[in-house]
C-alpha cells in the first residue's frame, strides 16, 4: 500500500484516493445509468520545487487528474492536500484565493488564448481581478516583467494572440499562469502541440522559471522523452489508475509493470542502428465507462494471469520510492 505522510514538510501537494466519475445520463428523466471512471483512486505526492510527470495513453485520465487538482472539476471522492490543507473543503471565496497559488497551462496554445483580448489583457487580467496591483502603472510593470521573463518583449502587450507563432503563444499561456506567482503549476500537455524545435524552447523556459521562482510542476504528457527530461518522479497511468510510479531513472531503467514496459518499448528507436524489440500491444485501451474487471490492463497484457481478471492489484512498493500495481509483484 502507498503510505506516506501527506503532511510531510517537503511535500507541497498530496493526493489521496482521488476519484472522478463522470455520470452517463440517459433516458427521459436523464437518469444516471453509469459512470465514466476517468480517475479511479489516485495516490501520489509532489515535493516542493520538484516536477511530477504523469504519462499514459490518451483518455487514461491525465487531464482529468490535472483539472480535478485545481477543482476545475469537482472530484467524486478523495483528498487533495495542498500546503497541508485539504482544498476540496474550500468554499468559493477561498477557492478564488487558491487560484493565486495553483495554476494550469493547457495543451493547445490556440484554443487556450482568447483571441479577442490583447496579450496585456490576458496576462494582466487576473492581477486586476485579485486586486494584486494598485495602479495601472503597477499592472503594466508587472505584466511587462512577467512577459519578458517568458521570453517575449514589452511591445507585444498590445498585440492579439493570432499574431504569434505557436511557441510564442505557449509563452503567453505560461506568462498568464505565472503572473499570479503561483507555487504549483499543472502543465497539461503543455508542449505536445508544439514543433520539435519549439518544444525545446518552451521546456527550457519552464525549467528556468522553475529554478527562478521555485515552482512545483505536475507535468502531464504522453511523450516519454520529454517527461523523462523534465520530471523528477513519474507516474504511469492506465485507465484512471496509476500503474507504476517511481523516480524517473528507476522507472526507465527498471520498469516493473507490463504496461510501463510496453509503453517504453513502444517509443521508436532514437537511432536507426539501435536494436530495439517493440512489445506490440494488441488492441486499444478499454473504455473507462466499461472497464474490464480486475486489473484494467489484463485485456492487453502479455503477461496476464488468471487472477488479473478477478482482482484489482494493490498499489505496492516494489522498491525504494518505486510503486507498482501488478499481481506479478504481489506476494
Amino acid at each position: 500500500m502507498y503510505e506516506r505522510d501527506p503532511k510531510a514538510s517537503d511535500v507541497l501537494l498530496s493526493v489521496r484516493g482521488l476519484k472522478k466519475y463522470f455520470p452517463i445520463k440517459s433516458g427521459l428523466t436523464k437518469k444516471t445509468v453509469g459512470y465514466i471512471k476517468a480517475v479511479d483512486g489516485l495516490n501520489f505526492d509532489i515535493k516542493s520545487g520538484k516536477t511530477f510527470g504523469l504519462v499514459g495513453e490518451s483518455g487514461c485520465g491525465k487531464s482529468t487528474t490535472g483539472r480535478t487538482l485545481l477543482r476545475l472539476l469537482e472530484p467524486t471522492e478523495g483528498e487533495v492536500i495542498f500546503n497541508g490543507e485539504n482544498i476540496l473543503t474550500y468554499d468559493r471565496a477561498r477557492l478564488r484565493q487558491l487560484r493565486t497559488e495553483m495554476q494550469i497551462i493547457f495543451q493547445d496554445p490556440y484554443s487556450s488564448l482568447n483571441s479577442r483580448m490583447t496579450v496585456g489583457e490576458i496576462v494582466g487580467e487576473a492581477l486586476l481581478e485579485h486586486g494584486m496591483v494598485k495602479s495601472k502603472k503597477e499592472l503594466h510593470e508587472r505584466v511587462v516583467s512577467i512577459i519578458e521573463k517568458c521570453g517575449l518583449s514589452g511591445y507585444h502587450m498590445k498585440r492579439y494572440p493570432h499574431e504569434f507563432s505557436g511557441g510564442q503563444r505557449q509563452r503567453i499561456c505560461i506568462a498568464r499562469a505565472l503572473a499570479l506567482r503561483p507555487k504549483f503549476v499543472v502543465c497539461d500537455e503543455a508542449v505536445s502541440a508544439l514543433d520539435v524545435s519549439i518544444q525545446s524552447h518552451v521546456i527550457n523556459l519552464l525549467k528556468t522559471l522553475q529554478d527562478d521562482m521555485n515552482l512545483t510542476y505536475l507535468f502531464i504528457s504522453h511523450d516519454l522523452g520529454i517527461v523523462k527530461y523534465i520530471s523528477d518522479n513519474i507516474g504511469v497511468m492506465y485507465l484512471g489508475r496509476i500503474a507504476e510510479m517511481a523516480e524517473k531513472n528507476a522507472l526507465f531503467d527498471h520498469p516493473m509493470h507490463p504496461y510501463t514496459q510496453a509503453l517504453l518499448s513502444a517509443i521508436p528507436k532514437s537511432h536507426p542502428l539501435d536494436k530495439k524489440e517493440h512489445i506490440i500491444l494488441q488492441g486499444d485501451m478499454p473504455s473507462p465507462a466499461n472497464p474490464p474487471s480486475g486489473c484494467g490492463f489484463h485485456t492487453r497484457c502479455p503477461k496476464a494471469m488468471a487472477i488479473c481478471s478477478r482482482e484489482i492489484p494493490v498499489f505496492n512498493a516494489v522498491g525504494e520510492n518505486h510503486y507498482c500495481a501488478c499481481h506479478l509483484y504481489n506476494p
Binding site: D108, S112, R116, T118, E129, Y160, H162, A177
Partner: protein, 317 residues
Amino acid sequence: MSLMSEAIKKKQEANAKLDARHKIESPWTIAFRRLKKNRLAMVSLFLLCILALSAILADVITPYDRDQINLADKEVRGKVMELPIKNEAPSSNFILGTDELGRDIFTRLIYGGRISLTVGLVAVFLQVVIGVAVGSAAGFYGGIVDAVLMRLTDIIMCFPFLLIAITVVALLGPSIFNVMFALGLLGWTSIARIVRGQILSLREQEFMEAAEALGIRDSRKIFKHLLPNVMAPIIVFATMGMANAILTESTLSYLGMGVTPPTPTWGNMMQAARSIYSLQNQWWLWIPPGFLTFITVMSFNILGDGLRDALDPKMNR
C-alpha cells in the same frame, strides 16, 4: 567567428525593429481589411451610408414638407377648383412625381427611409439585446436555466411569425413603436440560439478553463471573454436582421398593419401598387419605394454576407 556573430546580430536587430514597428491588428481591423477587399460589400456599405445620411438630413435635402399637400387649379366638370396635384408623373417640380394627395414622392421617400432604417435599427437592437441576454444566460449557466430559456425560445420560434406579428400590431394598434416592438419581441430567437450554441462551445474551450483557473468572476467571463467572441455572428445576424426587419415592416405596412400614415414608409407607399392601374400606368408610385426597399435590404444582406466571410477565420481566399 566575430564576423558571423556580427552578421547575426545585425540581422536579429533588424528583425526586432521590424517586429516592434509591426502594425497592431486587432481581429476587427483584420476583418475590416478583408471586408475592404470585397467590392460588392463596400458598394453596399456606401449605399447604406448614403441612405442613412439622407435619412438623417431629410429636413435639409427634401424640397417639400413631408405631408405637404400641393394644390393646383384644376378643371372639374367645367368648374375650376383648387385640387391636389394628384398622382402626377415626375417633372422638374416633383422629381419623382406626386402621390394621391399631391404630396412630393421624393420627399416622402427620403422620410420613408428614415422610418424604415429606424424600425430596422430599433427592432434589431431589441432582438440583439434579448437574444444575447437569453442566449448567454442559457449557454453559460446551463442546466435548468438553459432548459427553461430554450423551451421559451422554442415556443416563440414556433409562432407563425407574420400571423402573430399582425395580431400583436392589431392588439396594440399599428404604429411605428408597435411594429418595432413586435419585430423585436418575436425576432430574437435565432440570435439566442446562435449565442447559446457559440457559448456552449466556447465554454469548453481551454481559455475559459484558464479563466476559471485564474479566478475570474462570472460577469467578467461573460462580458469580457465570451461575448466578444460571439460578436462576429451577432454582427452578421444584426445586418441580416436589419434586412429582414425592413422587409417585414414593409410587408406589414403593405397589409395595413404597419406604421401609421401619414407617416410615410416604403411599405405603405407601396400600397399604391395594390391597384393594377397604378401598376400599369403610375410607375413612380411604386417603383421608387419598391426599389429602395429592395436596394436597402439587398445592401444589408450583401454586407452581412461580406461580414460573415470577413469575420470567419476559416475563410481564406
